[in-house]
Symmetry: none
Subunit: 298 residues, 2 copies
Amino acid sequence: MVDWDDVRYFLAAAREGSVRAAAKRLGVNHATVLRRIAQLEERLGAQMFEKLPSGYRLTAAGEEVLEFAHQMEASSHLLETRVFGRDESVRGLLRVTLAPPLAAHLLMPDFADFARLHPDIEMDILSSGELANLTNREADVAIRVVYDRKTLPPNLHGLKGPEVFGGVYIARDRLAAWRAGAPDPIRWIVISSHGIPDWASAGEVGAAGVPFRTTDAEAQIVAVRQGLGMTTLPCFVGDADPLLARVPGADLHMYGTLWLLTQGETRKTKRVRLFTEFVSRRLAAYAPLLAGLSISRD
Amino acid sequence: MVDWDDVRYFLAAAREGSVRAAAKRLGVNHATVLRRIAQLEERLGAQMFEKLPSGYRLTAAGEEVLEFAHQMEASSHLLETRVFGRDESVRGLLRVTLAPPLAAHLLMPDFADFARLHPDIEMDILSSGELANLTNREADVAIRVVYDRKTLPPNLHGLKGPEVFGGVYIARDRLAAWRAGAPDPIRWIVISSHGIPDWASAGEVGAAGVPFRTTDAEAQIVAVRQGLGMTTLPCFVGDADPLLARVPGADLHMYGTLWLLTQGETRKTKRVRLFTEFVSRRLAAYAPLLAGLSISRD
DNA sequence: CATCGGTGGTGCGAAAACGATCCGGATGGA
DNA sequence: TCCATCCGGATCGTTTTCGCACCACCGATG
């Protein structure tokens, strides 16, 4: 008899394209994936993959099997969401996925409040950066900034939040030094994968020199605080930071609209309802900050 | 993450209504089913069953889960049949040789199952009695009862199966009549070429009169059913026959060990591997019956 | 040409799952 | 009533599985 769980390993390997990547995603050792796939191939009596030096590639047989593996996965997800949706108790696990800056600079205190308010809810904040998939039951609630509503997955239920604006920021003392006539060039600080948004202009302060690149948002913010230059930041980050100031003359720009996303059955759960309503209220209170209206321009 | 294979155990328990029956069907220990279901319930965070003294009954949550478990099973079946149907090398002839009683009284339903599972395999059951020679390519697979392992041909690849025991049997109503004091002598029924095995004693029932001889095993069994006397039979024949009973006081005796024998090149072919693995699993499930443990001694 | 990060594959010791076995209790007949 | 036969559950060695540390190999990169 085929071990159904082997199909899960097969599916991961088929998605990731290599045994090691699949193992990383599954949170197990790559040798385990290797063995489970070998076992599945043995029990099915057919090769699912071509074992290339560059990784695993599906054979024709594997392609056909993949279709039914997806079916099994879909049923498995339905099974889990169904039983989760039945759970009306406040106790239990609640997994929230959101962008790291939202967690670190805005909502973490509110999450803490919520956790104190409901000690029986085990909270799991997934802000590693990857978009957790609600349909795959990797999270129960997603908080995302969406620019075009049409890009929202149609199977998710969305609760609309405030709009998010961003601006161009620089360290306060750096700005003062520039006004005092300091000659050092002011550089653009950008996240490597992003580049300089086309809407960002340097305002009255001219940017010069080569860009300074960081890999993540936190390093970017620290770099700006150090006075290396200026960068684009969401207003709720820049305006809330006492060490930063907006670059005069630089315009704000709408990043998008915040959405609280929930999925199918889990939406009915009491703890999901409690959480979304709680966060929705807090977000409404943050609306001016998010829109960049919390400070007067200078 | 939920272990998909746990769903398989859940499904079996839901179908059978008890952990032990599910374990029997799955061919595992009942403690295993117990653990897997407990694990599934823990990971889903909900009870699937009411644990009644009379067995497991599905809860409302379990009923809902059952539907998707069925979906997973259906996908799993499709997955397996697809990969089997895809495998061109499964087509072809498969010749199996085994002793007639094994075919007639034990394995024929399993052969039928295998044939239904693999409609493209043309099966040839050689149970005429003569020992087909694997080395001479008269058969692809041999199922034999071997007493001394050293008598196995060294060039054959053997897959060891359960041990086979035999006992002394008599018709139930004949036994009852004897207990009631019927004066008719109880005769030994033997196959002409065999005689009475030296390990066979009449137990509490004394044997009298001349032996009754038959030429083949089927006639021997029919004769015993008619109440002519008692005879030695493999337990999987005698215990499975509702008209027969063991002679009280007569001991069991080991006939030997079942072996699944394959030869050289044919062993590598898919249909041979499929068949041997299939039969091996079935044989493992028959182990208690073959060992004479399927009924309590009387 | 050396290095470095990626791949699949392989032994070995630790850890988890398993099977065998026993137990207490419910249940249905003799 | 007593006994046999189910049931779920707990315990205890044993087997299987897993994670870890390696290895060889390939390709890109400096």
